[in-house]
Amino acid sequence: MVKKRLWTVLGTVLLFCQPLCALPVQTDDAVLREFLWDRFVSLPKEERPQIGLALSAGGVRGFAHVGVLEVFSNAGVPVDMVSGTSMGSVIGGLYAAGLPTEKLWEIGEHMTLKNITSDFNVIGLFRFLFAKKLPDSSNMLSFFHEQIGDKQIEELPIPFSCAAMDIKTGERVLFNSGPLAIAVRASMNLPGIFEPVQYRHRALVDGAVVDYLPVDTVKQMGADYIIASVTPLDFSSNTPQTVAAYLLRVGDVRATAMIEESSRKANFVLTNHVVDTGTLELDKLYKAGEVGVKEAHQHLEELQEDILLFSLPYVFKK
């Protein structure tokens, strides 16, 4: 059969005499990386280091994490546990619940503020002006139920946690069990924009204030190797024009320091520079996701090499 095939090939070469070279020749390092990576991804979970993913906060910018997850999923980068804050908790929670990246992209294309609150209207404005009540983010609960049903964190196929802050005490509140939708809602509940989430005698707001990039949490969850996906702040945009924007900016400045500190504890950091995108500009979700794809794809080989060097004894044990 092989001989027959070879003659066919030779005949065609002579006939056309125009070989078509479509791919660049791989370097030696690339050949070895690909070979070792195949061995690594075929190892059973318990026979290799546990890889954890920390997803930062960042509002709409945080949708870049979907792009990162897309690249990881294609390349077979294992994600054994996830912790996220704010938008990181939304993406991480849905992913840990088993939602494929295709579905996450769909959410990015169709998500509107109505999926979070129904108070961004005239009634909401009156409520704010006369009853001094901020908009309520409870729509997020039904949004989550629509996507994944009524899931508990401890039931998720991939271990997950997320952080919120108790506005009364300033404490960080870590959710690693209980209803996923409530935890995620609390973690992404922007202070000053939405009413605090009342849960178990606590008034919970966005965890970004205390744990912008939860690398430590992923470590505590048992990860041996931690990848951080960060969506840093974009200070190139104009001076804030509204009270809310000023408040968010103050938070952003503090967040920058937190990112720097947490990044140092991660093994590998992907920095997704999503520019010119406001925290709640939901029509820019998809574009932010594309930034994540580009960043992760650009650094994928570097990441694979780093993971392989970290896991070499396991790879060659096989």
Binding site: V9, T12, D29, V31, K294
Partner: protein, 334 residues
């Protein structure tokens, strides 16, 4: 009132007549039909025959003869840009397309040509914008669909790339082998080896003379754990391109994985005969020596690998393994 303006009608007719008169290169009022067809045809023939310098000269003069810039033909600019691309004068090609798009911003063939050049020069964001704009104008434009799909593949957005290719192949089931090979590659990147194998097999029916396509097929088969078939495909690729060290290296590594240590060693030695300082070949020899129980040879070979380059990934892996061999006592204490 209509009758009062009657004398103006013959005057207008005269103007249109003069505009249409091809003997006036620029036409009366500069509104004549553009250039002479013969000049364009001659330039196109020069391009088709590979005389790109001649095509550039003829097209440049053809375009510049038309003083009213808005009347300059998009197709002439496009051919000029393509000629520059063939001559590898990418800056001039880019200049040509940019100028042309100022006058013909919605011309889809121009948009796709410019996007293709941006893609070629790794300006993928710009390429994406132009392809997307072209598709707004013509949603079923095949060049734009295939270009955008490949662009998404290049930035690593495989699922999006595959979705656009799906549409492209629905509209154009008999697309070129290269397009189908790229489609197969998007499946391969998503570890969908079954679909990758299906498509690349189809490509090879039309174009069995490309070692790259055989390599793609080999990868798909290997992904499906059809090691024997994958090695056969690699052999076919090697027959077409016997000196490609990447093919030899992949073969040697797959043989090693399949526990065929002697054959793997032979293949690595062949690599070394072609490239005596090849680091990966030396590394594969070391792996095989270790598996065949020749620990001290393996250590020496690993040291040699590191000496060739300690900074490369292969060098770093060799260093890690050598360190671990040096700290792990062997059965005979060596």
């Amino acid at each position: 009132m209509y009758l009062k303006n009657k004398p103006i009608i013959p005057a207008l007719l005269l103007v249109f007549l003069l505009n249409g008169c091809s003997s006036f290169q620029n036409g009366f009022l500069g509104l004549a039909p553009v250039g002479d067809k013969k000049a364009y045809t001659s330039a196109r023939d020069a391009y088709d025959n590979g005389n790109y310098e001649q095509a550039v000269n003829e097209l440049t003069s053809y375009i510049n003869k038309i003083k009213n810039v808005k009347r300059r033909e998009a197709r002439a600019y496009r051919l000029l840009g393509k000629s520059y691309e063939q001559l590898d004068r990418l800056d001039k090609a880019l200049e040509t397309y940019s100028e042309a798009l100022e006058y013909h911003p919605d011309n889809v063939p121009l948009l796709t040509a410019a996007a293709g050049l941006y893609q070629r020069t790794a300006l993928l964001d710009r390429a994406q914008d132009l392809y997307e704009y072209a598709l707004q104008k013509e949603p079923d434009n095949l060049d734009a669909l295939s270009g955008l799909a490949y662009n998404y593949y290049l930035i690593g957005f495989s699922s999006r790339s595959r979705a656009i290719y799906d549409r492209f192949f629905t509209l154009n089931p008999n697309a070129s082998a290269l397009d189908r090979a790229r489609y197969a590659q998007t499946f391969l990147d998503q570890r969908n080896y079954q679909q990758a194998l299906l498509h690349i097999t189809k490509v090879l029916e039309d174009q069995p003379d490309s070692p790259d396509f055989w390599l793609l097929r080999a990868r798909a088969a290997y992904g499906l754990q059809l090691t024997g078939e994958a090695l056969e495909d690699l052999d076919t690729a090697l027959l077409l391109s016997p000196d490609r060290h990447d093919l030899l290296a992949i073969k040697a590594l797959w043989l090693y994985q399949d526990k065929q240590y002697k054959l793997s060693t032979q293949t690595a030695k062949k690599m070394l005969s072609l490239m005596p300082d090849n680091q990966l070949a030396a590394f594969i020899l070391a792996l095989n020596s270790y598996k065949q129980g020749k620990i001290s040879s393996a250590k020496k070979q690993l040291a040699n690998v590191i000496q060739l380059s300690a900074e490369s990934f292969t060098g770093k892996v060799a260093q890690e393994i050598l360190d671990s061999l040096n700290t792990t006592p062997t059965k005979n204490g060596k």
